[in-house]
Symmetry: C2
Subunit: 101 residues, 2 copies
């Protein structure tokens, strides 16, 4: 699937997550900071890919933000996220069980 080729890459989802809030429209450097100082080369590469996919766009003011499609993607991601949360909640206690007698 080509979609995971895009979203599976490092920082891709993190970037989308940081752009959730539509009012922010952070600049390149701001995004970079929010993402633990990714290399500018990688961040730029990701942003280019996401723009080509029309998931992200640059606002007139110069900041990055999600496109409408990007927002829909985030919505489509919600059930998966919910599953992941339940999943993590189930597997972590299991590990804890081992350290119990």
């Amino acid at each position: 699937m080509a979609l995971l080729d895009l979203l599976g890459r490092r920082w891709a989802l993190r970037v989308l997550w940081e752009l959730r809030d539509d009012t922010a429209a952070p600049t390149f450097r701001a995004l970079q900071a929010r993402c633990g100082n990714v290399s500018s080369s990688v961040l730029n590469e990701r942003l280019r890919e996401l723009r080509e996919a029309e998931i992200v766009t640059v606002s007139p003011g110069g900041g990055y933000r999600l496109t409408p499609e990007g927002h829909e993607l985030m919505l489509a991601l919600a059930p998966l996220d919910a599953w992941a949360v339940r999943w993590a909640a189930r597997s972590l206690p299991e590990k804890r069980d081992r350290s119990n007698s």
Copy 2:
């Protein structure tokens, strides 16, 4: 996110997809064939990870199948899949547009 660490790996989703049909419970070699003859080393690695995550299990008969959690995961994936389909449907025509005058 640890979940994408798992599902983002090559063949992971493909394996789940091939295990959709619960009545099948394919064997190792059968799965390998269905996945375009992945290396046995890689397939085995993926299957081990998915079993550790309790998304896949080996049935008493010896075939692989999804766990209940695995099936829930597939359900959680549905909206994302739907989005991806619409997305592909929108971006492919765009490419075709370029070859038009």
